[in-house]
Each structure stands twice: as C-alpha cells, then as structure tokens.
Amino acid sequence: MAGKDASVLTISPDSPKRSSITTFGALVGSGFRRYTTYRQATIAGTFTNIVFGYLRCYVLLAVAASTLGGRPAGYDREQLATYVWLGQGLLSVIMLWAWSELAERIRTGDVAADLLRPVSPLTAYLAADLGRAGHAMLTRFIPPVVVGALCFPLHVPARWTTVPLFLLSVLLAVVVSFGCRYLVNATAYWLHDARGPILLWVLGAGVLGGLYFPLRLLPDWLAATLWLATPLPSILQTPLDVAAERDGPAMQAGLVGLQACWAVVLLTLAWIVQRRAERRLVVQGG
C-alpha cells in the first residue's frame, strides 16, 4: 500500500482483487463522509420523520382499536407501532424518495467523466450509496425509533435471530432500492429527461413498498403477487415485517431470501442496461 495516502487514491501494486476491494471501501467511506457535512438537513429531516411517525402510528392504532380481536392484518398493537417507527427510521436509509443524481449527470453530459474512471459507474454509485445508507442508519434511523419507544410500546423481538436477520434485510433493501433507482435514472440515457420515470418510481415505491399502509391489509392474493412480481415490497415492507416478527422463522427467512434474489436480478439488469447505454451514449452539452 505504498504511495497511498488518505486523500489521493493511487493504483496500488497489490493484487487486482484486493485493490478493487480497497477502492470499493474508499468509495463507501467517501459516500459516508459526504453526508456527514449535511448536518442541518439531517436534523430537519429527522424532525419531519418523527412528526409523520406520530401521524401514522395513531391512525394504525385507531384501526387496531376498532378491529375485532385488535389484530388488523395479523399485527398486534406493539407490532404496528414497531412497523411505523422503524419504517420512519428506515425511510432515508433505503431512500424511497427521488434520487436523480445520475439522471442529472446524463442530461448535462457530466456522466462522460464517470465513464472515464477506472471503476464502472454502477460499482461507484453502489459504493457511494452504501456509504450514504450507513450514515443514515447511524443518524436518521435511531432518533425516530427512540422517540417511538418512549411514546408507544414497541415489539421486543422474541427470537434472537431476528436482529441479525433484520440488519441483513436492511442491507439487501438498500441494494434493491439502489438497483431500482439506478434503472429509473438510466432511462435518461434514452429519454434525456428522467423526471417522468422518477415520479412514477416515487409514487409506486411509496404505496407498493408499504409506506402508506402495511401491504398485508390488501387481499392475500394481491399482496403475494406484489411481493413476487415486483421488487417494491422488498424495499420497506420486508425489513419491517422481519423486525415486527409478523411471520414465523421460516417465512421470515424466506422473505429475506426473496430480497436477495431481487437484489441479484436488479444489479444484473442495471449492469446490462449500463453496458447497452454506453454503446449508444451521445454525450450532451459541449
């Protein structure tokens, strides 16, 4: 690792595999550091997440209060509160909202600079996104969960396996969400302006991801179809169901397995799309 200091990355004489891992790690680190500079936005965003947490939690608890048996869609009161507050914490980790960085760079032609780098754009953006998610997990996830735990009884996991499974599920959710966002942004290679697809993504991800209401409230056949046929429930609904222990251990692991499949499928798809786009890209601007 001679000739490598903290700020400048040089092509190291180590084995290619090891050096690509170091590069990936450095990119993750820079993604993390970038978000540590947006301190005021972090505070403002967390405040907003908490306000919405109260709104959603009270509404769902009111539904539970008037449901026969008090278990709408199979969640008890504690599980519903967990669902809402962990969901509010995860919102900015999985980044359900509009992300148009890549689309903007394609539109302006700046993407040419990304293509000149020795790391493929897909890898570089994935690394940066994992760094961003790591930062969000430390700063944006914890405050809503703490507030939720202080004001409402949350569900305490009954099985110790739930905790590592939840963390794995969050990691996979970030990758699935990244894959979707990358594909949506990549439409700009063909359309030049990805605002329409991004808008549809934000709408679809919110409803079908389980933000507006738990998908289990839908008829069973519809929920199952959404889960298998679209990656969207794997982004928010799955980690929340895992944390709330909505299902038994086998189903819990199965849902995480499904997430892993979607992560592989989406990254492969993004890789193919990126390669095809590079062959036909005419850089804009000049």
């Binding site: 936005a41 403002a44 919405f52 009111a62 008037s66 449901t67 507006y212």
Partner: protein
C-alpha cells in the same frame, strides 16, 4: 391594471413552456394526480380491516379526507411552489425578483406555476362529491354555504401554512424538509377524524395550529353530528374565520421575513 397584465404575461409564459413538452406534461399530470389518488386509496384500504376508525364510518371519514384533499390540492396548485424559496434564497435568485416593480410573492408563485397539479384539484372535488353522495346530509341553506366554503377555507389555510413554513428559509436557509412536517403532515393530520390522535399531539396540531377546523369540524357540521371532543356545533362554521386568521399570520410572517432578508451576496 398594468401590474395585472404583467402577472398574466408571467402565468401565460409558464403555461406555454409547460404545454410545449406535451409528453412530459402528460406524464407529470398523471403522476401528480396519482399522489392524491393514493391518499384516498389508503383510507379505503384501512377500512378493509375495520368498519370504524376513531368512531367514524367510511363515508364520514371519506368526507373529511376529500375536503382536505380538494382544499390541499388547490393550495398546492396556487402557492405550493413557495416551497422553493430556500433554493431561491441560496442561489440568490430572490434578488432578481426583489428589484422588479411587482410584489415578490405573486412573482415567485407565477415564476413556476405548476400546471401539472391541475388535475389533482379536479380529482379532489370529485371525491368530495362522491363522499357527499354516500352520506345522508340533511341539506339546509347554511350547509350548502358551508360545503362550498369548507374546501376554499381549507385551501386558504393550507396556503398560509405553505407560506409560513417557506418563510422559515429567510432565517434558516438549510431548513430542508422541516416545512413538510406541517404542510404534508398537516394534510395527513386533517385527512382522518382527529379523534384517533393522542391528546397532546391532537392539542398541538388540531387546536394550537388550527388543523381541526380544516376538515373535521366542517364535516361534523355537515353531518349534523355532535363533536365527541366537546366543541359546540357552530365550530364547523368557524373554519373560514380560522383560515382568515392563518392568512393574516402568514402575511405578517412573510413581511417580516422579506424585510429582514439579506442577500447571500454572491
């Protein structure tokens, strides 16, 4: 008169620029109405699990949701763009607005009038009509007046909230999403019967900030139901007054903000 013509020219330019990209415009039109459709859909899905939320059945809850969505859509269409004030303050675009001989707020609103949000208003009003049909309303002249005033008051009230939360940017440029807690948060709050919320949270949003008068109290007055939370029957008819109060506060906050605005200087 000349001023008015300048405003019309500004709005016309916006409309022309939006319509010139027809495909993009259509996609955005559909996408925007989608957001409102999903808000209403959420209420329907929640009622799959139960027949009452906070002591109200589906038609009654839908009436509250639809007053809120139609009023909010109107406010978002007319003044929602004031949200972008923080971008204008940071980039210094606001300086250009201030040197022109027209009011700053109308200019900001017309600089980016979101034609794409028009369809939302239509959808909101349609749901309101459906909700009124589902409920058995005992029509009196006072209720006819109220049903026209309630969405308009809601729009004025929500518009004031938009302006107040955007004005925050005069003091705190990096305020980011904090305004959404009160604009979109307020909309979500008013979309459900306020009986569902905990006492402290309800006290803050419903009575201290006034969101109870957006949809809940007018809906009770239309239905002729006594308020389980104890406010008298005329409270529903107070919503225009609450809206005027909010608009007054918004005007004062905006004036103070713009008076003490110092350009970023770059």
């Amino acid at each position: 008169m000349g001023e008015l013509r300048a405003y019309v020219a500004l709005a016309g330019a916006q409309a022309r620029s939006a319509f010139s990209y027809r495909a993009s415009f259509l996609i955005e039109l559909v996408g925007n109405v989608g957001a409102t459709v999903f808000d209403v859909l959420s209420v329907l899905v929640l009622f799959r699990a139960t027949d009452r939320i906070g002591g109200f059945d589906l038609p009654e809850a839908l009436l509250m949701t639809s007053i809120t969505s139609s009023g909010f859509a109107l406010a978002d269409f007319a003044v929602g763009n004031v949200d972008r004030l923080k971008t204008y303050v940071r980039a210094g675009t606001l300086d250009a607005v201030l040197v022109r001989p027209l009011g700053a707020l109308p200019q900001l609103l017309l600089m980016d009038l979101p034609m794409r949000k028009m369809l939302r208003v239509v959808f909101g009003v349609t749901v309101l009509a459906v909700a009124l049909g589902l409920n058995d309303v005992d029509w009196t002249p006072a209720r006819v007046l109220l049903v026209t005033l309630a969405p308009l008051s809601c729009a004025v009230f929500m518009g004031s909230i938009f302006v107040i939360s955007a004005s925050l940017a005069f003091w705190w440029v990096e305020s980011g999403e904090i305004g959404s807690a009160f604009t979109y948060g307020g909309r979500d709050f008013a979309s459900y019967p306020i009986t569902v919320y905990g006492p402290a949270f309800r006290g803050l949003f419903a009575y201290a900030l006034g969101f109870a008068f957006v949809a809940y109290q007018p809906a009770l007055a239309l239905l002729g139901r006594p308020d389980p939370l104890g406010l008298p029957a005329w409270a529903g008819f107070a919503s225009p007054l609450v809206a005027i109060g909010a608009a007054t506060v918004a005007t004062i906050v905006w004036r103070i903000g713009i008076r003490q605005y110092r350009s970023t200087g770059s």
